[in-house]
């Protein structure tokens, strides 16, 4: 038997490969570099290269596939972009955040890059095996990152909770994969899809249905949808803020990436109705639960954790219709959320006290007079997260709600809007602190720590603010980008 030696289409996974290489370089260089921040910059270089490759792939016509396992179509490329941006911005925040807390270790950047690779794989996966692999690569790296601050119990606790619950959920996810595999005989998304469309009656298959439900559980866990969100507040709260920023954006985006591929390709078209209601209900309870619980928070970081749950709910609205416009909306939302949320966390890193887990809301009192520009940036992020125009967050909402309205599910949009109004309460709570209250001086003379803005954080803030504002006023480029991703 002649051994065939086909040339695998490595081009399709070039960005992923570059990031992997970068991760290895970081690990290797760690041995020789004293100032670990250099590793961060190396990571940035790697991510930049990946981004460039990513863009060059976007320009190609036929989407290259990596066998039947991965595809680098517009969809995955734009998600790659999201992951790369999220990783890059998080690294920028991390540089000073870690130094301040004496956590500057090379593994950090390597793990972050590996997590990024995992996310990228999830976005590009066309086979459940790759989905699972990506998921685990991402998750395991994140478990460790969450627990990265060894000086704090909270960080370790976050890592542990994330790990235990994550593994638990992974098991369900796997079981779901197994059942779907058993029912359809394949783990390839396309094949699963064609198996279903071959005979409509197949969908009644309880094994497949239960499999689907467990897949949903797995993704819901990753995107932090109620009632699988329990880990979220604690983990986001306890993890180092730079990691939280990355997780809240990247892991969520990765979860959505796979979720949508699975739902649209394997269970798409006529079968949409079978999961539509479930996802719709998930969407509503997720946004409502997240928002309402956020109202009660006294800690900004934790509040943003709940807020990220709520945002998962909004994004799910875009998933529900199962249409291309919905996908486009989700992509746009994820992209916009990346900037505004990481921006917000960047502000948190500046105000966070070293000895403390999280960031008390009182510390924000009078920020407008202490640091007008920082306060302004936070104001913009909060307003944008609320969904008030003319900021980028508004367009994300508009986009996903449009998809719901198109699918004759206006009630979803209504629920989303009502939730936006509720969310205004706590987002503005921060604005109120910053702009309307004087600098707090507690009775014990505990004065707010001096503000230290390092250059990378400033860069992060500038980038995120500019994107939030400019693309809020003129969202056209992003709209074009996302429609390119979906419609080619």
């Amino acid at each position: 038997m002649p051994i065939d030696f086909p040339i695998l289409n490595f081009q399709a996974i070039a960005p992923e490969l570059v990031v992997v290489v970068a991760a290895f370089v970081v690990m290797f260089m760690e041995l020789f570099v004293d100032d670990k921040r250099i590793l961060g910059y190396i990571s940035l270089v790697g991510l930049t290269m990946a981004a460039i490759l990513n863009f060059s792939l976007m320009a190609s016509f036929a989407p290259p596939t990596f066998q039947t396992m991965l595809i680098s179509d517009g969809y995955s490329l734009i998600l790659n972009l999201i992951f790369i941006i999220a990783a890059a911005l998080s690294i920028l925040i991390s540089l000073s955040y870690l130094s301040d807390r004496e956590l500057q270790h090379g593994e950090y950047y390597a793990l972050l890059l590996f997590a990024t690779v995992g996310m990228m794989l999830m976005g590009a996966a066309t086979d459940l095996i790759i989905v699972f692999m990506g998921l685990e690569i991402m998750s395991i790296a994140l478990y460790i990152l969450a627990a990265f601050n060894r000086q704090q119990l909270g960080s370790g606790e976050a890592g542990m909770k994330y790990f235990v619950l994550g593994a638990f959920a992974s098991a369900f996810f796997l079981y779901g994969v197994a059942l779907v595999y058993g029912a359809t005989g394949s783990t390839n998304l396309q094949e699963i899809g064609s198996w279903f469309s071959a005979d409509r009656g197949n969908l009644g298959d309880p094994i497949a249905l239960v499999g689907l439900s467990l897949l949903l559980v797995g993704f819901s866990f990753k995107i932090a949808a109620v009632p699988f969100q329990w880990w979220t507040p604690d983990v986001y709260h306890g993890a180092p803020t730079s990691v939280t920023a990355f997780m809240s954006v990247g892991a969520k985006a990765a979860g959505f990436a796979s979720l949508m591929r699975v739902l649209m390709i394997s269970f798409g078209d006529a079968f949409t109705v079978d999961w539509q209601l479930a996802v719709a209900v998930l969407a509503v309870i997720t946004m409502t639960g997240g928002n309402i619980a956020a109202l009660a928070q006294k800690d900004v970081k934790r509040m943003l954790a709940y807020s990220s749950i709520a945002h998962a709910g909004y994004i799910l609205v875009g998933v529900v219709p199962g249409t291309m416009n919905g996908v486009q909306g989700v992509l746009f939302y994820l992209l916009s959320y990346t900037f505004m949320n990481i921006g917000a966390f960047a502000v948190i890193t500046v105000l966070e006290r070293r000895s403390q887990v999280g960031s008390a809301i009182q510390d924000y009192a009078g920020l407008a007079s202490r640091s007008p520009l920082l306060a302004l940036a936070m104001l913009l992020f909060m307003v944008s997260l609320t969904g008030i125009p003319p900021f980028i967050g508004f367009w994300g909402k508009l986009y996903v709600f449009r998809a719901a309205v198109e699918a004759n599910m206006s009630w979803l949009a209504v629920a989303g809007m009502i939730n936006s109004a509720i969310s205004a309460f706590y987002y503005l709570g921060i604005v109120v602190q910053m702009y309307m209250r004087p600098v707090a001086t507690a009775e014990d003379g505990d004065v707010a720590p001096a503000l230290k803005l390092s250059a990378p954080v400033v860069v992060t803030l500038v980038v995120t603010v500019i994107v939030t504002v400019i693309f809020g006023i003129w969202p056209t480029p992003l709209v074009d980008l996302t429609s390119l991703a979906v419609f080619g």
């Binding site: 095996i129 395991i140 370790g156 606790e157 098991a171 197994a178 507040p233 887990v357």
Partner: protein
């Protein structure tokens, strides 16, 4: 095909194993045992995969099992490392002793 155990038996067994694992995660408080229970759930999944693989005459399932085993190993490694780390802060392996984050 006489002599072949029907698929449903495997599925039932793996379901029971999975349920036992899940129940363990829910009931037990010792982090190590919880970890073991998660492993058990994964192995139940493995069993399902292999059974399906056999009956569908497809190798994909078996490949998947290898992946799962690798991941499970990694998870155990990470999990134990985390536990050790936590033990530095608090002399306990009871999962409910770690509840400083809440609300």
């Amino acid at each position: 095909m006489i002599g072949q155990v029907p698929l449903s038996y495997y599925l039932l067994l793996s379901a029971i194993l999975f349920a036992i694992g899940a129940g363990g995660v829910l009931i037990r408080r010792n982090v190590i045992i919880v970890l073991m229970c998660v492993e058990m759930m994964m192995n139940a999944v493995n069993l399902t995969f292999i059974a399906f693989s056999r009956y569908l005459d497809s190798t994909t399932g078996q490949i998947f099992v290898f992946m799962i085993m690798a991941v499970a190993a990694v998870e155990v490694a990470v999990g134990l490392a985390l536990l050790v780390e936590l033990n530095r802060h608090k002399d306990s392996v009871n999962i409910n002793d770690f509840n400083s984050l809440k609300g």
